[in-house]
């Protein structure tokens, strides 16, 4: 599903003429198989979020290749990557990243709108997702009117509404209490089992990492263990 080959990335700090190179990822190579849940763990600043951002296409790697399915996404233009993200990827963020001026229903409906789905199909699929995450009675609530757990469930519903084969999750339980965290992890496992969705979960929490079939550990930008499936 995901193939990362010899991935190197550094950030350039400072102004022109006085730039400092800050290496973040060094020679990272690993694979994630279809239907797998892979946890990427590491301390804060180890480069795990950068890795996720590179796979997501939010930033472009300095060196190396990323293949998702059979597509070499590192060659994609911004526009092409946007289309690819819409069709093949779902995202779960630590801070949920819901649009505050939209209701739960509208937030979940957004990917369907961007894809150009018909209004009737959008309504049906959005209601299905709301039902799946147990928020049908909160559909007209704005994010500010929902608890952290509910917001994360809306975020998951939005990530899943287009039924992407791959979900990238960045610290998905970071803003949740332990009870909600447990609920969410169960939900992720259920989605993986029932729908065969591949998950790449970035976390520093060992509890969360444990739901993965495999764990990749990154330290100081280098892959320490878990590269092989």
């Amino acid at each position: 599903m995901i193939t990362v080959q010899k991935l190197n990335h550094h950030f350039e700090l400072g102004k022109k003429g006085n730039k400092t190179i800050l290496p973040v990822l060094k020679d990272i190579s690993f694979q994630v198989e279809k239907g797998e849940i892979v946890s990427v763990v590491g301390k804060s600043g180890s480069g795990k979020s950068t890795l996720l951002n590179l796979i997501s296409g939010f930033i472009h790697p300095t060196e190396g290749e990323i293949l998702i399915g059979d597509q070499r996404v590192t060659d994609f233009s911004e526009t092409k990557f946007a289309d690819f993200r819409l069709k093949h990827m779902g995202f779960i963020f630590q801070s949920f990243q819901l649009i505050p001026s939209m209701t739960a229903f509208q937030n979940i409906e957004l990917p369907l709108i961007l894809k150009g789905e018909s209004e009737s199909s959008r309504e049906q699929r959005t209601l299905e997702m709301l039902n799946k995450v147990g928020l049908e009675s909160f559909k007209d609530h704005y994010p500010s009117e929902l608890s952290g757990g509910q917001q994360q469930r809306v975020s998951i519903a939005r990530a899943l509404v287009l039924e992407p084969p791959l979900i990238l999750a960045d610290e998905p339980t970071g803003s949740l209490d332990s009870e909600t965290e447990a609920e969410l992890l169960t939900f992720i496992k259920q989605l993986n089992t029932e729908l065969g969705v591949t998950f790449l979960i970035i976390t520093h929490d060992e509890e969360v990492a444990r739901i993965g079939h495999r764990t990749i550990t990154i330290r100081d930008g280098q892959l320490i263990e878990g590269a092989d499936a």
Binding site: T79, A82, F91, S101, L110, P111
Partner: protein, 445 residues
């Protein structure tokens, strides 16, 4: 993303900042209204001038002054008339000669001086000459008179009291009181050649009175005589056209078949330009209302272009407001844009939404501006004549239109408005597409 959904997004976004958007729309509307009202003055005055020019003249008439031959102009002859009549699209060719003195006309104790013409009546009738009373002349001593001739036929006296002090016209009680048709009037012509002085009286019968000229202020007091009477005048005076005080050595040797005034009448307005072009090609010196219209229209086109340009400046100023509004909208919505980009919104779609939003502001502003401009135009046309009359105590010409808004002006104004607003929304829209997803989601923008 479908257009319908993009419009829904725009409406939602506008709702979030109603006041700011309304103020921007208001500025755009004011700019658009200013442009339309300003240019409408050019359109209105052009319409009035064109209408006035057309009303003053017969639009199908072409005046011919002469024929250019080796750098000099000669009068038109019967050969020219035959040629003019043969041109395709010509309805009639009228020709007149003027008696080159002003004869005195007498009827009982009334008298009047009047310009006298000999004309070809069949072609005049063909050209549209109409009588209000009587019939066309059939005999040699029969004449027709202009509609105002009777007003000048006043009591034969040197008393200045017969004139109205205010208007300078003869008072009604001193004017010949009866209809002229059927009356016999005596025309007195003078002779002044080589010391021979004398007068000669020719008896004429008025058989018809011409219709009044189309414009109220125009006066027709002329007398139209037959060719034989004209010849009799020339015979008596011994000069061409009965001219007075002429040096015998300068007498024209041959005045037969030349005409002082020749007018060509086209069958319809569309034919005028073709006939005029053909006549100019063949060295005839001409004037037609179409030529005048071309010059008037050219002048007003330049004036209108200038006014539209000045008006456009107002829209450009308003567009600064749109640019500001859109830039603020992009900054405010940066986190939302970041989220949308993260989940797969195409940068083109994001740009489209912002360009559409600025166009939306532009189109609403243009619609409101157009409605306001129409209202101002109506008010100006009603109110300004009163104000000018009160302020300057001067009466304006009847039917003068200060402001006119044809659909073409609305299209031009709305087009300029849309172009400028889209242009002002382009940069903020481009900025929206360049928003960094990670920074936006971290609320760092």
């Amino acid at each position: 993303m479908k257009w319908k959904d993009q419009f829904r997004f725009i409406r939602q976004n506008i709702k979030k900042n109603k006041v700011r958007t309304m103020m921007t729309i208001l500025a755009t509307a004011m700019g658009c209204a200013f442009l339309i009202v300003l240019a409408s003055v050019g359109y209105g005055l052009q319409e009035s001038v064109v209408k006035d020019t057309l009303e003053q003249q017969v639009v199908t008439e072409i005046d011919i002054y002469g024929f250019e031959e080796e750098g000099e102009y000669r009068s038109l002859t019967m050969d020219d008339i035959d040629y003019l009549e043969s041109i395709d699209g010509v309805k009639a060719v009228t020709r007149r000669n003027q008696v080159r003195q002003i004869p005195m006309y007498m009827l009982e104790e009334y008298k009047a001086e009047a310009m006298t013409y000999v004309t070809h009546f069949p072609s005049e009738v063909e050209a549209g000459l109409k009588l209000q009373d009587g019939r066309m002349p059939e005999k040699e001593n029969e004449v027709i008179v202009g509609s105002h001739f009777r007003n000048y036929l006043s009591v034969n006296t040197d008393d200045e009291n017969i004139y109205d002090e205010e208007t300078g016209e003869v008072k009604e009680e001193y004017i010949y009181p009866d209809d002229l048709v059927g009356k016999t009037i005596n025309m007195e012509v003078r002779q002044d050649l080589e010391g021979e002085n004398g007068t000669h009286t020719i008896s004429l019968t008025v058989v018809g009175v011409l219709q009044e000229p189309s414009r109220e202020w125009m006066q027709d007091q002329n007398v139209y005589i037959s060719e034989s009477v004209y010849n009799e005048i020339e015979e008596f005076t011994g000069t061409p056209g009965g001219e007075l005080g002429i040096d015998p050595g300068n007498l024209e040797t041959d005045t037969t078949d030349t005409f002082d005034e020749v007018h060509v009448y086209a069958k319809n307005l569309e034919k005028v330009q073709g006939i005029a072009d053909k006549l100019e090609e063949n060295n005839y010196a001409i004037y037609s209302v179409v030529n005048e219209m071309e010059q008037i229209n050219m002048l007003f086109t330049i004036a209108k272009a200038g006014l539209i340009l000045v008006g456009t400046i107002a829209i450009v100023i308003a567009s600064i407001g749109i640019y500001n509004t859109m830039t603020m909208a992009v900054t405010e919505r940066a986190p939302d844009i970041g989220i949308m980009k993260a989940i797969g919104a195409n940068p083109k779609t994001i740009k489209q939404i912002f360009v559409l939003e600025s166009s939306y502001i532009g189109i609403i502003g243009a619609i409101i501006g157009t409605i306001v401009a129409y209202l101002i135009s109506v008010l100006v046309n009603i109110g300004l004549p009163f104000i000018i009359e009160m302020a300057f105590e001067d009466e304006l010409p009847e039917g003068l239109q200060f402001s006119a808004i044809p659909p073409s002006l609305v299209f031009i104004a709305v087009g300029i408005c849309l172009f400028v607003t889209i242009l002002s929304g382009m940069r903020p829209a481009k900025r929206a597409t360049q928003i960094d997803v990670l920074k936006a989601m971290r609320r760092e923008i």
